[in-house]
């Protein structure tokens, strides 16, 4: 891709070609303005695609195999560890890393931090895709995934934490689709839809906060069903949900930093100047937020140990592992990011963000797998289950990249009609828009 860009190619970032009245067709938009030959040429030349291809070569048959022959064919079929890596990683790690959507939505739309708007769409997309793929992981892990709508329509276990997770994640997925759709509507050239989404933004954002607070917390509360199984240092009946919620704030913010770093290194051609020029400053702002979440998280983790008087456990082997998680998952990233913020070094803050993401991921894996059944034995996931996780994660990357290539996430859509003079404050009945330019757009879109 970089090679094509260096030869002077400009990917599509506006409704119509320069100095032309005609508009891009959907096919042209999908191919970024390249010919099919050019497009597939650059795809084949990208070594990262070879790695993805290799993963899919093994992973896709394995996925088919799993659905044809059941979970027993790709996992250890453990009765003691009913949740393996597919959920331990796919659900419990992916969901906190996807808290970014509601966090940036809140910062920009609720707290009025419009300085963060360049990165807001990336955070929203990161949230949507993370949740979507958490559901994909879930589908791969459920015994009978075709019954996934049962808690909605067939049988209601209203008192169960998972009931709440099911309802909230599905509702929140729709909220996130609505939030991200703004960019999609711009790209499609549907300005009325864009306007509508903008109008309901505050409402969407507030429901996103509610749903996120509850289901991020609920994932933690799921473990309060297992007091005899999860090691006491990781178990805190009263605080578990707050631990999960608080750490998801740090995880979500740092995930945006990590993703934006990867984008800056590999996809700078797709970013506009607004995104690239503001990235360092925004990284530091996000890191500040993450630091506050981390220090709070550390405090409430220690409070939980004190509350249940579990200090004696710290002197055991499990205690050392717990201290390792605290040190390398919370304190070290906290110090690194604080240093980066203090000296305005975005690069250092990014390092801390990577450490945070790994640290929170370790916490979730500890809860779901490592410190789970601490009195029984250690479960090592089946190789096929690991491969399935890698495959689904690769799907996640492919979809993520495909959307970033196309939709105005990293750049602004240069639609002429979007710059309609703001001074013109027409009296428009709610939900109806009658600007002439919109008709223009509707007539000419494909």
């Amino acid at each position: 891709m970089k090679a094509i860009i260096s030869r002077g190619f400009k990917p599509i970032d506006s409704p119509s070609p320069e100095n032309s009245a005609r508009r891009w067709t959907l096919k042209e938009k999908l191919l970024l303005g390249m010919t099919p030959r050019q497009y597939f040429g650059q795809a084949v030349c990208n070594p990262f695609n070879w790695v993805l291809g290799l993963i899919f070569l093994i992973g896709i048959p394995l996925l088919i195999y799993r659905f044809a022959f059941g979970l027993g064919s790709v996992t250890h079929s453990s009765y003691d560890y009913p949740w393996g890596l597919l959920l331990g990683f796919g659900l419990f790690v992916m969901v906190p890393l996807s808290a970014s959507g509601f966090l940036l939505g809140t910062a920009v739309n609720i707290f009025g931090r419009h300085d963060l708007h360049h990165i807001e769409r990336l955070a929203l997309l990161n949230g949507l895709l993370g949740y979507f793929f958490a559901v994909v992981f879930l589908i791969a892990d459920l015994g009978q995934p075709w019954r996934l709508p049962y808690p909605m329509f067939v049988a209601f276990g209203t008192g169960a934490v998972l009931f709440l997770v099911a309802w909230h994640v599905s509702t929140y997925l729709s909220v996130q689709i609505a939030e991200v759709s703004e960019g999609f509507f711009e790209w499609m050239g549907w300005p009325q839809a864009v306007k509508f989404v903008k109008r309901i933004t505050v409402g969407l954002t507030v429901s996103a906060i509610i749903l996120s607070t509850l289901h991020q917390g609920a994932l933690g509360a799921l473990f309060t069903y297992a007091p005899g199984k999860l090691h006491p240092l990781w178990y805190a009946a009263e605080f578990q949900w707050i631990h999960f919620f608080c750490s998801s704030i740090a995880a979500g913010l740092c995930m945006v930093i990590v993703v934006s770093t990867i984008i800056k290194k590999t996809m700078a051609w797709r970013c506009d100047a607004g995104f690239l020029d503001n990235l360092d400053a925004q990284t530091l702002t996000l890191a500040k937020g993450a630091c506050m979440a981390l220090i709070t998280y550390f405090a409430i983790k220690m409070l939980a140990v004190a509350h249940d008087n579990e200090w004696a456990y710290l002197a055991t082997g499990w205690g050392l592992w717990f201290l390792f998680e605290l040190a390398f998952g919370i304190l070290v990233p906290l110090v690194i990011m604080s240093y980066g913020i203090r000296h305005k070094r975005a690069g250092i803050a990014r390092l801390g963000a990577v450490a945070t993401v790994l640290g929170i991921a370790l916490n979730r894996l500890n809860c779901a797998l490592i410190a789970f059944n601490w009195r029984l034995y250690q479960e090592v996931p089946h190789w096929a289950e690991v491969m399935l996780c890698v495959t689904i994660f690769a799907f996640y990357i492919v979809v993520y990249r495909a959307i970033l290539y196309r939709l105005p996430i990293l750049y602004s859509w240069k639609a002429k009609e979007a710059h309609a003079p703001e001074a013109v404050r027409e009296r428009i009945p709610f939900g109806v828009s009658v600007r002439p330019s919109h008709h223009q757009v509707f007539r000419t879109r494909d």
């Binding site: 059941g70 027993g72 996992t75 079929s77 009765y79 003691d80 009913p82 609720i110 009025g112 419009h114 459920l142 015994g143 009978q144 995934p145 019954r147 996934l148 049962y150 808690p151 067939v154 049988a155 276990g157 209203t158 008192g159 169960a160 934490v161 998972l162 709440l164 099911a166 309802w167 909230h168 509702t171 109008r199 309901i200 505050v202 409402g203 969407l204 954002t205 507030v206 429901s207 906060i209 509610i210 607070t213 509850l214 917390g217 933690g220 309060t224 069903y225 007091p227 005899g228 199984k229 009946a237 009263e238 578990q240 949900w241 034995y377 703001e422 404050r425 009296r427 428009i428 709610f430």
Partner: protein, 314 residues
Amino acid sequence: MSGISRRKFLAASMAGSAAATLSLTSGAFGAALLEGYPDGMGVLVDMTRCIGCRSCEAACNKEQQLPAPEMAFDDPAAFDYSYHAGQKRRTTEAAYTVVNRYEIQGEEQPVYRKIQCNHCNEPACLTSCFVNAYTKTKEGAVMFNDKVCVGCRTCMVACPFNIPAYSYSSAFNPVVKKCVFCHETRLKNGLPPACVEICPQEALTFGNRRDLIKIAHQRINDNPGRYVDHLYGEKELGGTSWMYLSSVPFEQLAFDTTLGREPIISNVKGFLGAVPMVLAIWPALFTGFHLLATKNKHGEGHQADHPIQEDDKQ
């Protein structure tokens, strides 16, 4: 200004209330306490009488039409079987009950412990199931409806006794498998479960749970040297329908004695109680934050989002 505030506030509150109505039920009904049915039946397992003949395993296998076992029911080698370095046998999709042997230091005879679903008064599996697949019947059995099971396996995580198993081998209809107290074939007709009926040692006593508690304490009182003074399951985790008497401390037989008397759901109630509060408070709280944070800031690129604010200024 006031107009735009009201509009935004209403929009946000409506979205919030929508979310609230969707999920209020989960919190509101989550906290009901199940006391256990007064006439529920139970089984008293007197481990001092068990000789490890495993005829209960065989009877269960036949009654529940389970697949033939890997090791014959009269093969004593089953007691030496272990998985993952030292784990004794447990219930599986093909065995709803299992007897394990424990060599206790200082005891001449080994002690045998039968495991199966304990049929809790307030079952963790039931309270954790998001499709309500579990039912506690008035006769005392914890039943499982495999027609609605999605296969999330949360019940297996929640069960403090590690009882529910899962038919992982099935590709298209895997479900949870566990002891159902022979409810359909026997219990609901007033008959004891198959394992109790076959026991040659009368190690298993079937009866009204309240009577069994009296019998158990009677045995302890009459034979103070024979039993430890504890009836496992009488109080544990809110009480279970199956209860155990032992000659050695329960920890030595791998019973979990750290779980306390509160049912599992008590640990979850803190969160379930917070749910309606969050749903009710967050909409106003965050819409309020929004109004505070953006007050007098509408000149700074905020207008574009709200081009109709002049409407309400009249």
